[in-house]
Subunit: 356 residues, 2 copies
């Protein structure tokens, strides 16, 4: 049976990079005899232009009925002045909530051939291979947000950060399970010296930890973790943390690699819902120019095969193809050294396909 | 009239480094004819051991009556298992609240002679000279923290993030004033695409900005700022942000320099309350061994002269002395390259005094 993939190209370079990922998956079908049924739906600014809504009901419905969602990127200056819940980014929050995507997995990997792209010294980042597991449907993102006035009549804004024990437990447990398949180390990040949700977080980690005696556990305060990522990123295997801290730390970790055009992400939900997308943005300035780097999206498609479709050797093959393309010195503009020849988006897609 | 300085050595290396800062200030008295009256008070773990309280009433009273507070560091494993409000760190929160220390100023400066200490490449960090202005008495630190149960009987933790317009305005205004004395650029950091306090923050920045037409303003989301600090820290002059974001970003910024033993901080309050302390911790493992780097504390004393006592040329003299000590290649252990000779804490203090 063909697997149903909802394809959401989105805005800016989204369509450029998604096209290459789909071509790579078509090639996987030929080689491995798998079968994917791709259906495209509008999301983000493109959907606003077409329907007035960043996440049309028909797009959401299709995502709910698919085996996995592959998303390009959303957003752009054209839609920046719309109210918050009508902006392209609202589609991401809507998808997270409606698909119950509680876990955002963001690997930050330094490829040996790209180690020079980092702003950090080679000896500090070479070999970095960490995974940020970010809680994605709770915390201050989904708590109450309001304006009031104080007793003395002054304007005041309020946001509420909430976590239940079960919300924390499922993400922490997933992090430990993922660590068991990796280097068996979990760094749990919180601010338990200040906030109550972090104290509950720490209690849950202490509980869950008992079920994984082989896993080494480190507890770091979020400020310290922000430092440690710069000081010695190799100390990390799996980092697990709440929504807002994960937003900040996963971006910091990504930038350590110096090549965010390479980084994929998976958002795992309840049931078999899941969404895959590159971590970079929609880069409106280079949209449609056939120069964007499609690798992060191609690697997101590989994560999709691995996590949602259980097609492990197919995922391995895509990842190996990307590695050998890089080792051959092939580079899109974002990765090239000054003076180095660069490939277009479609050329890079073709190069990966040729390696498969 | 002698200026009253409340001296709070605290725990770990606190007493070692504070002693050198006081000696430097004694030398300043001799050279410039200024006069300081130092009074020592217990704080943190030391105060817990002596009185049962991390911030005894007598210590707080002395701080309120002094012209400035000079603090070493608090905390250590000995007191790690006490309940939150009885731990050494509670003294910091108490001092912030009671002295109304609403602004935390944390410069991150890369000294030319120490550029190699950074984990970042020399071309990325050389010349970095930024100032994080962190709101210190509001936000989630001082909102409600509680446990409840959900309707279905599940355990739940809640933290509340609140800001009034005036709390935001005074810190933002201070940041613009400081930028006017520097390179006239303010980067305001928030998460206005998600939280209401950040949307109010942005409105206030837009208002205050009108009074400083010469200042260039950049608005960054906190996740992007965490990236930009790694990608290109030289883009920053003054960064202004709320309490929790400031906690995270100021530590990340400090670590970019690679030499946190060099970094000072000032916490400025209502009236003439102010507290000065190094940004590093109490390093209990090296306490009393005469090997800690006293420079961050000496530079904190210089900030005290500059901001609280309006003794500008005295502050300049201390900072210049530190720079020439470094240029002569003198190093404590934390700054030394492998094989390089190192100075003890007291030797480094004496070296700075000799340069004055
Ligand atoms: C666009 C924004 C709402 C989003 C977030 O904060 O989660 C983004 O930063 C991300 O990390 O996916
Ligand atoms: C010790 C802790 C409460 C404190 C904070 O979070 O403010 C520290 O991290 C700091 O930055 O001064």
């Amino acid at each position: 049976m063909a697997k149903k993939i909802a394809v959401l190209p989105g805005d800016g370079i989204g369509p450029d990079i998604i096209a290459e990922a789909v071509k790579v998956l078509n090639k996987v079908e030929q080689i491995f005899g798998t079968s994917y049924q791709f259906q495209e739906y509008p999301v983000g600014g493109t959907a606003i232009d077409q329907t007035g809504e960043p996440l049309p009901a028909s797009t959401l419905q299709a995502c709910l009925e698919s085996d996995a969602v592959l998303l390009g990127a959303v957003g752009g200056p054209k839609w920046d002045n719309l109210p918050g819940n009508k902006r392209p980014e609202a589609a991401l929050l809507g998808l997270r909530k409606e698909l119950g995507l509680y876990a955002n997995l963001r690997p930050a990997v330094v490829y040996p051939s790209l180690v020079g792209a980092s702003t950090l010294k080679e000896e500090v980042v070479s070999g970095v291979d960490l995974l940020v597991v970010r809680e994605l449907t709770g915390g201050i993102y989904f708590g109450e947000h309001k304006r009031t006035t104080t007793e003395s009549g002054e304007e005041k804004a309020i946001d509420v950060l909430e976590y239940t024990r079960s919300e924390i437990e499922r993400i922490v447990r997933l992090a430990f399970e993922l660590a068991m398949k990796r280097r068996k180390k979990v760094t749990s990040v919180d601010k338990a010296n200040i906030i109550e949700t972090s104290r509950l977080w720490r209690e849950v980690v202490a509980e869950v930890q008992k079920d994984f005696p082989e896993v080494e556990v480190d507890q770091q305060y979020v400020d310290n973790c922000a430092m440690q990522l710069v000081r010695n990123p190799k100390q990390f295997d799996v980092i697990v943390t709440e929504n807002m801290f994960g937003d900040i730390l996963s971006d910091e970790a990504a930038m350590l690699t110096g090549s965010i055009g390479m980084l994929a992400s998976a958002s795992i939900g309840t049931g078999n819902n899941a969404m895959y997308e590159p971590i970079h943005g929609s880069a409106p300035d280079i949209a449609g120019k056939n120069i964007a780097n499609p690798i992060a999206t191609i690697l997101s498609a590989a994560m999709m095969l691995r996590f949602s479709l259980n097609q492990i050797k197919e995922a391995d093959a895509i990842e190996a193809a990307v590695t050998s393309v890089l080792e051959k010195g092939l580079r899109t503009g974002d990765l090239a050294s000054p003076g180095q020849a660069t490939l277009s988006t479609t050329e890079m897609g073709a190069a990966v396909i040729a390696e498969l």
